[in-house]
Amino acid sequence: MSITADNPDGGSVAIAAAGIRKEYGDRAVLRGVDLTVGWGEVAVLFGANGAGKTTLLRILAGLTRADDGAVRLAGRPMHRRGNRARRLVGFAGHQTMLYNDLTCRENLAFYARLYGIRDAGQRIDDALAQLNLSDRANRRVRTLSHGMQKRLAMARAILHEPAVLLLDEPESGLDAASVATLGELLREWAASGRAALLTTHSVEVGLAWAHRALTLDGGRLTGDVPGYPSTGSG
């Protein structure tokens, strides 16, 4: 899937966020976050519990409204009516966003229909295979183990082949084999010119996967290391 063909007017950076602020009641969580992630880049976001990683990712995905600041994905504004921007995003977070009483395939089929995917059957099979879930395709989500549900949530996120992938602690709960698969997937992702931003608490995994490491602390991005040596092949 060629990104440039998909975004003829496409922005030169994949994710561009400027001056993002968010308060919850009297607690300022994000105090002006500026962030850019380029095409072909995988960036990892570190930060303590409660640092605001999830909040930031949800704002980028258009799920939470920032108090201030602007988000552009591939040059397109992400806001309430930002359907074009939303089509570019794949997001998997702490919650699976799956329907427990539908099977894996039915869940994906539903999202495929929502995203208007043409060759849905093929894509669903592919996504299930990519996350090693082919043998559970016709089982209800309720009967999957925790890690399998997380993988299905990931399959949901990549189903529509988004240009930008936002993953909130994708490796947590996954077994070693799945973590390796996911690393492989992200490497291909970047190689094909797409972009990803992920959070994790595992320094090891984060540094192995990402080209760039960022740290969120005190509501600001600190320690952005743009030239971080790529260990993408490790």
Partner: protein
């Protein structure tokens, strides 16, 4: 196009989930039966007192069932992620609204269709005509529209079960009134000019009004 695609996907998903668990329809039917049985035992004490009340009973029962159905339709969305999956998708909020609304509409119509003959027998409704069907359809569209809208708000609060009726009923009362008046005229079997000249147009106006306003402002209620 995109609107329709999203809406149909959501409605179809709801129907499928419902077919799988059958919990909305089941609980609604149970509730409807309880209403009828209670009314029969409770009200049919003075013989003949039930007939003038019947249209009202019908609609009160339908209204409460509507609240139940709407509530369920949304708590199901919340199970694993608070509607986020729908909001992430590149379909407009209108499509989400229409999809949920369509799902609820289908459930309610099915439930009403099942309950109508039951009510007819037990409440001794005189005549069932296609006009009554039209009244039910129009009123139910109004119910589902307003109900879906407020259910989306209510589920995001702590007091969801109680807040939904508090929001829903005052706004829907005009529709209920029109439906009761029209049903009464239809069931009396007399001349139905009043139905066609006043109540049905009124229902159409309400439906149109809500169908324009609700999708429009629906997009706003999901901002955290």
């Amino acid at each position: 196009m995109e609107l329709l695609r999203g809406a149909l996907a959501i409605a179809w998903k709801d129907v499928r989930l419902e077919l799988r668990s059958r919990d909305v329809i089941t609980s609604a039917l149970v509730f409807g039966l309880i209403v009828v049985v209670v009314f029969n035992f409770g009200l049919n004490r003075a013989p003949g007192s039930l007939a003038p009340v019947a249209p009202g009973l019908l609609w009160v029962a339908y209204a409460f069932i509507g609240v139940l159905a709407m509530n369920r339709a949304f708590t199901r969305e919340l199970e694993q992620g608070g509607l986020d999956g729908l909001l992430l998708a590149p379909v407009s909020r209108d499509a989400v609204f229409l999809g949920k609304m369509l799902g609820s509409l289908i459930f309610m119509l099915v439930i009403e269709a099942i309950l109508l003959p039951v009510f007819a027998v037990m409440l001794d409704l005189p005549t069932l005509s296609p006009t009554l069907g039209l009244v039910i359809l129009l009123a139910t569209v109004g119910f589902a529209t307003v109900g879906t809208f407020f259910a989306a708000i209510a589920v995001q609060t702590r007091s969801r079960e109680i807040l939904l009726p508090v929001l829903f009923f005052p706004v829907i009362v005009p529709v209920i009134i029109a439906a009761v008046e029209a049903s009464a005229l239809v069931l009396q079997g007399g001349p139905m000019t009043g139905v066609w000249t006043r109540w049905l147009p009124l229902l159409v106006v309400f439906d149109a009004l809500f169908l324009v306003i609700c999708p429009w402002i629906f997009g706003f209620i999901f901002e955290g």
